[in-house]
Amino acid sequence: MLKNEIQQLPMDNFQRQSKTLKKRKRWSESLIQGLLFLAGLFSIFTTAGIIFTLGKEALLFFQKPEVNLFEFLTGTAWQPHINRFGILPLATSTLLTTTIAMLIAIPLGLIVAVFLSEYATRRVRNFLKPILEVLAGIPTIVYGYFALTFITPLLRDIIGKDVVNIYNTGSAGLVMGILILPPIASISEDALAAVPRSLREAGYGLGATKFEVVFKIVLPAALSGISAAIILGISRAIGETMIVAVAAGAGPNFTLNPFKGAETMTGHIVRISGGDLSYDSIDYDSIFAIGLVLFLVTLTLNIVSQWIVKRFREVYE
């Protein structure tokens, strides 16, 4: 607007000067913008790289005469040395550890979130939040060590050494639950904190107790955020590697017994690639096929959680 007014001024002298006020084309500016755009594109390259490499090597795997897709998805044995490649034993143990982890993390995580957001005084909050952050920052290998050297002996003492194996999915799942707890608690707490105060006050105005306000008003209002947190937690648990690699045992095992050792998808990838893996072996290709399954499952979960947040978010003003 300003520019137009200047140009409309009849002064001859000024018009000549105004030419220099025009935006000059600056090559350096365009160059910088181009470089920054490239940096932005890098994330696209990464995704493309993941999809391309996983897809390509997995395709090679399924083209091998020993492998077929149907058997891969439904076979109950993963024994590469006799050419049996059924992912079910790996998938069930992933499912088992994830279920145990979520049985711990969902109730505990939600309760901690509700406590922090609704019940705790400011001092208690300022004390507890950093603890949760510290828990969230501990490397997963440390949790793995904890599972193997603390939880497993504890389970073996309580339930019996002949029932619980040294390597078992139960202790891996339990510790994974502790690992997933902080993120679930902290995302849920954000969702609870976003529920406006007026809703709570309205509840109290009707004579509701604190418990009723929390469970019948605040929790339902924050449900979209909480579901997103839970789904993200499931996705984390499925992709979690070091705890199961250390504590859940080596060797695929088609069982739903949490006291027996069984290798998960991630655990299998780590064990196979831990040795000196030769590039053209079927083992090498198989980790890409398992990786592809893992990637697709976690990606779907992440997208679903984003969709839930978008679709069901209650907007208050």
């Binding site: 603890i131 920052g137 107790t209």
Partner: protein, 418 residues
């Protein structure tokens, strides 16, 4: 006509108590569960510390007294005296082999001492106890020691800390008594350096693009959604990506053979460079998201002031937006670094070496890192290696705690209020 009912206390009384009690019960449950969560953290720390200190029974194959030279104990001898001891006690071939690996004149006194302990003394841990056992069951330990000493007359009962200064400065070894984490610490530092050099500029650049330059069109929306999705991809997938791209496809580059720096026959892509780049890809979304938040928090008025003075877009970004966003950007970087330092799974997949005892010399060296070392020691069945793993965990946690403390200080010191 509306029937007026008198509201009386009794209408509420029948369930008022129930409702109140319900609330109180749940309050207690909330509190209990939160306490349980804290206890689990305490247990985790306790479990590690419990394993770092404690009694051990150590046996040596040779009586240390026989290694005294001129009445000077082994620990106080000079390097030359120890080399002579080595020469006396090892076969000629074994001694020459050691000399060929690394010349004795180039070895430090500590390295030679470690060799004497490893090759001649041969410390052997017969039995080890946790801290709790050491404090509470002293009698049982003594009984066991007495049975052990009948078979091993030189066995010694000592209260030790598995984490000692020598553990930090000594390289990895196959003997539990002399193994250290020097190689692993150096490997971690080198790897992190590569990660930062790669991910920091790219990440901040992407954040600047998305916040300052990008228009709201589909390309930029795809980039943004993609970054959010990448943040949720399991770390092991990045390991597989690194294995296929950096280790295999870019092998000439990542192994260093392209530059003629290494022997092409033995070189492979499982190097510090590959590891660092893989971790770089892993933390990239984290750096971008944190930097975006920091840049977004810079008030628009600052930018407008810059434009008002005739500055170009990049001048405004470089001179006004970035300096003001710096505390947030750096905090994000530190969080990304602490994530990268603790990562294990992708590095195992990329191909960390199981046993290397020499310091990395360039980005094309084979690598091991602190978490990898912890993983390998934890996975061994003998309990004494797990003591060592716990000592390494303590180092890792102290490192991470330090980093987080720096992040908090940065956030508080540098952050400005508008």
């Amino acid at each position: 006509m509306i029937q007026k009912t008198k509201v009386s206390r009794s209408m509420f009384d029948h369930n008022f108590a129930v409702r109140t009690n319900q609330g109180k019960t749940w309050h207690v449950i909330f509190l209990l569960v939160t306490i349980i969560a804290i206890i689990s953290l305490t247990l985790l720390i306790f479990n590690i510390v419990d394993s770092v200190f404690g009694y051990v029974v150590i046996n040596t194959r040779v009586d240390p007294a026989t290694l005294m030279v001129d009445g000077v104990a082994l620990e106080d001898q000079t390097k030359e005296q120890m080399v002579t001891t080595l020469q006396k006690n090892l076969s000629r071939g074994a001694f020459n082999k050691l000399n060929n690996e690394k010349d004795f004149t180039n070895r430090t006194r500590d390295e030679v001492l470690a060799l004497v302990e490893e090759r001649i003394l041969k410390y052997e841990v017969l039995e080890s106890w946790s801290l709790a056992d050491s404090l509470l069951n002293k009698d049982a330990i003594l009984t066991e020691y007495n049975t052990l000493i009948t078979e091993n007359p030189r066995a010694e009962l000592k209260f030790i800390s598995w984490l000692r200064w020598t553990r930090l400065v000594r390289p990895q070894s196959s003997e539990v008594a002399t193994a250290g984490i020097r190689t692993a610490i150096l490997g971690s530092l080198w790897t992190i350096l590569i990660t930062i050099v790669f991910a920091f500029p790219v990440g901040v650049g992407a954040a600047i693009y998305l916040e300052e330059y990008a228009r709201d069109n589909w390309v930029n929306r795809v980039i943004q959604t993609n970054i959010n999705n990448l943040a949720g991809v399991p770390s092991i997938i990045y390991g597989i990506l690194g294995l296929a791209i950096f280790v295999r496809a870019l092998e000439p580059l990542t192994s260093g053979s392209l530059f003629g720096l290494v022997d092409p026959t033995t070189a492979n892509g499982r190097t510090i460079l590959s590891a660092g780049l893989t971790l770089g890809l892993l933390v990239l979304p984290l750096i971008i998201i944190n930097s975006q938040e920091a840049i977004r928090a810079v008030p628009q008025s600052l930018r407008n002031a810059g434009y008002g003075l005739g500055a170009t877009k990049w001048q405004v970004t470089w001179a006004h937006v970035l300096p003001n966003a710096l505390p947030g950007v750096l905090t994000g970087l530190i969080l990304a670094v602490s994530r990268a330092i603790g990562e294990t799974a992708p590095l195992v997949v990329v191909g960390a070496s199981t046993a290397i005892s020499f310091d990395p010399t360039s980005v094309f060296s084979k690598f091991t890192t602190l978490p990898i070392q912890i993983y390998q020691w934890t996975a061994r069945p003998q309990p004494e290696w797990q003591h060592l793993a716990s000592a390494a965990i303590l180092v890792l946690l102290v490192l991470l705690l330090g980093l987080n403390a720096v992040a908090i200080v940065l956030r508080n010191k540098l952050s400005r209020k508008y």
